[in-house]
């Protein structure tokens, strides 16, 4: 897709890294996935190529429920990048089905949030076919 406007362009993730590319491939399928060890089932997050629990080098991208709880948040009010206009809020979300596994999300503005606020994943389409898993209050 050609970007014909002058708007600042969002930062895109490298989505073809050896260790993390599968996460972004899953997002393109509309799935939030974590890397799980084929040997012992441990969740390897952030994704790493080796499971130190059982010594396995084999892992699979496994879809998760896509619901979680807010463990912290901050509202940015001082702008540091032109494609991220303030105010916006960064949420840190812990998965319901895998406690301890966390992702960050971006919310426009300064929404009222509470500790433990339930959140659900959604998928944001960006340029170049990139899909970013995002989080919204339930």
């Amino acid at each position: 897709m050609t970007d014909t406007t002058d708007r600042p362009r969002r930062i895109l993730p490298v989505d073809d890294d050896h260790d993390t590319g599968g996460f972004w491939d899953a997002a393109k399928r509309g799935e939030l996935a974590v890397r799980r060890c084929d040997g012992c089932g441990a969740v390897l997050h952030v994704p790493v190529p080796y499971c130190h629990e059982c010594g396995s080098w084999e892992g699979s991208w496994t879809p998760v429920a896509g619901t979680g709880r807010v463990v912290s948040w901050t509202t940015a009010e001082h702008q540091v990048h032109p494609a991220y206009p303030v105010p916006y809020t960064i949420v840190l979300v812990e998965l319901d089905d895998h406690p301890g596994v966390r992702f960050v999300g971006h919310l426009a503005g300064a929404p009222q949030l509470t500790d433990g606020q339930p959140m659900r994943v959604w998928f944001e389409q960006l340029d170049d076919g990139v899909v970013l898993p995002q989080w919204a209050p339930v």
Partner: protein, 395 residues
Amino acid sequence: MPGAFHHRDVCAIAGIGATEFSRDSGRSVLSLATEASLAALADAGLAPGDVDGIVRCDSDTVRHNDLVHTLGLSRLDYFGDVGPGGVAPSAMVGQAVAAILSGEATTVLVFRSLNGRSGRRFGLSPVTQRRIGGNGTYDEFFLPYGLLTPGQIFALLAQRHMLDYGTSEKDLGHIALACRARANANPLAQMHGSPLTMDDYLAARMISRPLRLYDFCLETDGACALVVTTTERARDLAKPPALIRAVAQGSLTDPQPGIQFPVVLHETLTTLPAKPTADTLYRRAGLGPDDIDVAQFYDCFTITVLLQIEDYGFCAKGEGGSFVSSGEIGLDGRLPINTGGGHLSEGYIHGMNHVVEGVRQVRGESTNQVPGAEVCLVTSTPLPPGSALILRADS
């Protein structure tokens, strides 16, 4: 037992040097590094030719050979790099100690130099490329969402501490005010002559809620340098030696891979690598928090200080807010902190000005001298790992 250490008090900081701290030095980083190094050598009563080792920070743009050239050294027997960034200063001293104890060097120059305001500014988003992450950085999980700066990371930690323990914005303000008050008595501080009140603090604009303008450190052009040698030799030099009682490095338990952003995935958001670093440091020193007379805490942000006060054992986890609000961190308090003004108000030399001020305290020559101070804690424990040291007066 690992760390049943043989370095206790064996080496000392014999000389300290610093340039002016400014917003625009108008000079190269190499020029600043050279001036600070010459000042440290002169302070020790040594000549450049006495230096046989140099330790630099991995974030520095000045390389060992640059300083070898400007100082006119004929050779260099030992050189080391320590990082990452602000984690380095205490560990740089530790590497100098290790080089001396191993016989690889006798006189080690340790420096940090940066044009942190007129050159590369750490507080700005580093992202200029279209794609971010990969290659073990894990930045792709964070920066595309607008999590772009260390201040935003620490804001997430501050918010969690407030939720868990009822810590208030005013508590953080007391840390900013203490540092500013010390800077107002330190003519070398960038904020000398600029008083700060709690009303000023609370009225300042938010940067990343709950952190305001004065919760953030300064941006500084400047350099600091140290000369490390054996205590035995330092006793014959120009200034009273600041004995290096102990040094330590430490990581978070279950450290995350990546550069910095994955720290928000760590199990606890309210404990820094300061905790394991403190445990090792105190064990190696044979000292504990009750023995510390004054402390120089790495203060990229106010919350960083509050978390460290807890992690270094000056109060229980969660009680940092009441500790800093009760006057304990003032000059007359239980634990005077950041007596030069710290990063928040003296200048941001990436933790190295904290070591310099620590030496001043145990020499008795600080502009905010703590009466009778003999033992000073100096920390370089932001994130992801950390380092720290304890300096002691030669008694």
